[in-house]
């Protein structure tokens, strides 16, 4: 087995506020082998984006890591100094964000924003870096890249901008690409192109992907392994195929039930899409026991009081539920 590019263990993140710290992420742990695609799935507010920022070492006040270990390519980022952390970012791990509209500097050409990476990390001169930016743009399948490098972000479509973001992220051939909802803001047809582009490029370069999304279907197509997050905890984690065919956690069950299937109406007739009733509890609620119990059909007495420990699943992976097995 190859060494993991990313190892997270026992990660706790809090947000400091007027009434003391509120936990947002609790006891999150997973590891991604070199070159693998790993999916982190969950509803808005479950802590997946904050986990991604922590991986980048980009948590800023009032967010704070209180416990746990994050290691990039074997290097613990907590013990890295500022200069080494900067070298890790961009060279070892790069990130793509959800909003391609605002993630690029509106006053600089996209060519320059790509070229920056070569100047920062490889000490290239601006002129050479800008030549290489053309190649980087060509590699993300942008037509006429030698003209496009001179464009400003507002002249490009959302999909184009996301391609530019990918070009920036992969410029210095990082070992891990963190993609935080990279397709959420895009049209469905463009979504598929971007996902395919990311998968192809990363596979060709041996770059691992941490794909963060609320879309279980999308993640399942792209990733070998999936972790499902709910209210700050990983509730189930398994190989993608196992997770979809044998979900053990009621929440995973609910997510799969909520996936629309093309042609389902012809087979089963007109039916409402299954949904998970209720909403994610706010972190300030400090819900005792299993966080999912208010929305869970199988919840019993001790679900209200005891947080379930993570147990091994029969098919491999882990699950956090009192009723499993």
């Amino acid at each position: 087995m190859t060494a993991a590019v990313l190892e997270i263990a026992g990660l706790d993140i809090v947000v400091d506020g007027g009434r003391g710290p509120t936990p947002l992420v609790e006891d999150v742990g997973f590891s991604i082998p070199a070159g693998a695609a790993f999916g982190l799935v969950g509803e808005s507010g479950c802590g997946k984006s904050i986990t991604a920022l922590a991986v980048m070492g980009l948590l800023r006040t009032p967010l704070r890591r209180t416990r746990g270990r994050i290691a990039l390519a074997g290097r613990d980022i907590a013990s890295a100094d500022a200069a080494e952390l900067r070298r890790l970012r961009g060279r070892e791990v790069a990130m793509i964000f959800q909003e391609p509209m605002t993630a690029l500097n509106p006053l600089q050409t996209v060519g320059r924003q790509i070229a920056e990476m070569f100047v920062l990390h490889e000490g290239a001169r601006w002129r050479d870096a800008e030549d290489r930016a053309v190649e980087a743009l060509r590699s993300v399948r942008v037509a006429a890249p030698e003209r496009r490098v001179r464009d400003y972000p507002h002249q490009l479509s959302g999909g184009m901008r996301q391609r530019v973001m990918i070009a920036i992220a992969l410029a210095c051939k990082p070992k891990l690409l963190v993609a935080d909802e990279p397709t959420t803001a895009l049209d469905v047809t463009v979504q598929a192109e971007i996902v395919e582009l990311m998968s192809d490029l990363c596979a060709a370069r041996g770059t691992a992907i941490l794909m963060i999304s609320h879309d279980l279907g999308l993640v399942a197509r792209m990733c070998r392994e999936i972790a499902v997050m709910y209210a700050g905890r990983i509730v189930e984690q398994a190989a993608a195929a196992d997770l979809l065919s044998h979900p053990r956690h009621p929440y995973t069950h609910g997510l799969i039930g909520a996936l629309p299937r093309l042609g389902a109406r012809a087979v089963r007739g007109r039916a409402r899409l299954a949904e998970i009733t209720g909403v994610v509890p706010a972190p300030t609620d400090r819900l005792a026991g299993c966080r999912f119990h208010p929305r869970c059909g199988r919840a019993t007495g001790h679900c209200h009081t005891d947080a379930p420990p993570s147990k091994a699943r029969q098919e491999g992976g882990i699950v956090r539920c009192h009723h499993d097995g």
């Binding site: 980009l58 900067r86 970012r89 961009g90 790069a94 964000f97 500097n105 006053l107 507002h154 920036i168």
Partner: protein, 311 residues
């Protein structure tokens, strides 16, 4: 670009005509005339018949509409009229004063920008720090200090008490320091606050997060990505303040006996020298408009998003 400048210049014409109308009506309805101002000035009783003849000679007895028509016709040929008081063309009077006014405004604005913008930047990069708190308290104070009081205090401290600088008058740079300080403090305060707000605004933008994720040092993040975006927002304030500065200078010019447009304006108002008043105000308005046009052009040069719309 050339078309933009031309369009902006043409757009100034109706503005100036409007301003001319307002000033003209305003000074026609206020009580007193040049003739009565001479009498009230204590230069001895004037024969009412002489006063009447003067009014007729200056054309003050004609109906308002006739006088306005005459004035506008003059303006269109570039003639600002003739001063009642000195009999000189107003254009020449204004021309003699505008240099001193520009000098004062430039010095005050330079001082305000040189201190205010870096101060706002520094405060924004360390929000909640001692420097930030002191700078913002200072900025509120700076905005609320009356200029005449500040001028008097500066005069007392540096001219009377320390005797480092002359207390009034026009000459070399030593004469310029105190009036420039008195005039520059409020734009300085406003610029510090605006800069701080825009830097804070930009520093939380998504593209700054992108810049950090690229592995840039915080200094590079600020110089490569924050500075230009933040200064774009500050530019508007600089333009508006600079334009307004010439008008605000009236009090300071009077206080320090600075031979600028403001001083000319005050003297002319007291003497009801209407052509000189109108001429001074029109030039101040023109200055304001030109500065704002330059700001708009600067926007086009800096912000690629605007260039597209203009062409």
């Amino acid at each position: 670009m050339l078309r933009l400048i031309l369009a902006r210049l043409l757009a100034m014409i109706p503005t100036i005509a409007g301003v001319a109308l307002i000033i003209f009506v305003l000074f026609s309805v206020i009580p007193g005339s040049f003739a009565s101002a001479l009498m009230d000035d204590g230069r001895g009783a004037m024969d009412p018949e002489v006063a009447a003849r003067m009014r007729a000679a200056l054309g003050l007895d004609d109906p308002l509409i006739v006088r306005f028509g005459r004035y506008m016709r003059q303006l269109m040929t570039g003639d600002l009229g003739t001063s009642f008081r000195t009999g000189e063309p107003v254009a020449r009077l204004v021309g003699q004063r505008i240099g001193a006014s520009l000098e004062l405004a430039l010095a005050a604005m330079g001082f305000a920008m040189l201190i205010g913008i870096p101060l706002g930047f520094y405060a924004a990069l360390r929000p909640g720090s001692l420097v930030d708190t002191l700078a913002m308290i200072g900025a509120v104070s700076g905005l609320s200090l009356p200029k005449f009081w500040l001028g008097l205090m500066l005069m007392y401290l540096f001219a009377v008490h320390l005797q480092w600088l002359p207390s009034f008058g026009y000459g070399g740079w030593r004469h310029l320091v105190l009036p420039a300080l008195a005039l520059g403090v409020s734009p300085l305060a406003l610029l510090a606050r605006t800069t701080r707000a825009s830097v804070l605004d930009v520093i939380n933008a998504d593209f700054v997060r992108t810049a950090r994720s690229k592995g840039m040092s915080e200094t590079r993040v600020v110089t490569w990505h924050v500075a230009r975006n933040a200064l774009l927002l500050v530019l508007t304030t600089v333009g508006l303040q600079f334009g307004a500065l010439m008008g605000q200078a009236v009090v300071v010019e009077k206080l320090f006996s600075w031979p600028g447009l403001g001083n000319l304006l005050v003297e002319s108002v007291f003497q009801r020298d209407i052509p000189a008043v109108q001429g001074s105000i029109l030039v101040l308005v023109l200055f304001f408009l030109v500065i704002n046009m330059l700001v708009d052009i600067a926007y086009v040069l800096i912000d690629p998003r605007i260039a597209v719309q203009a062409s």
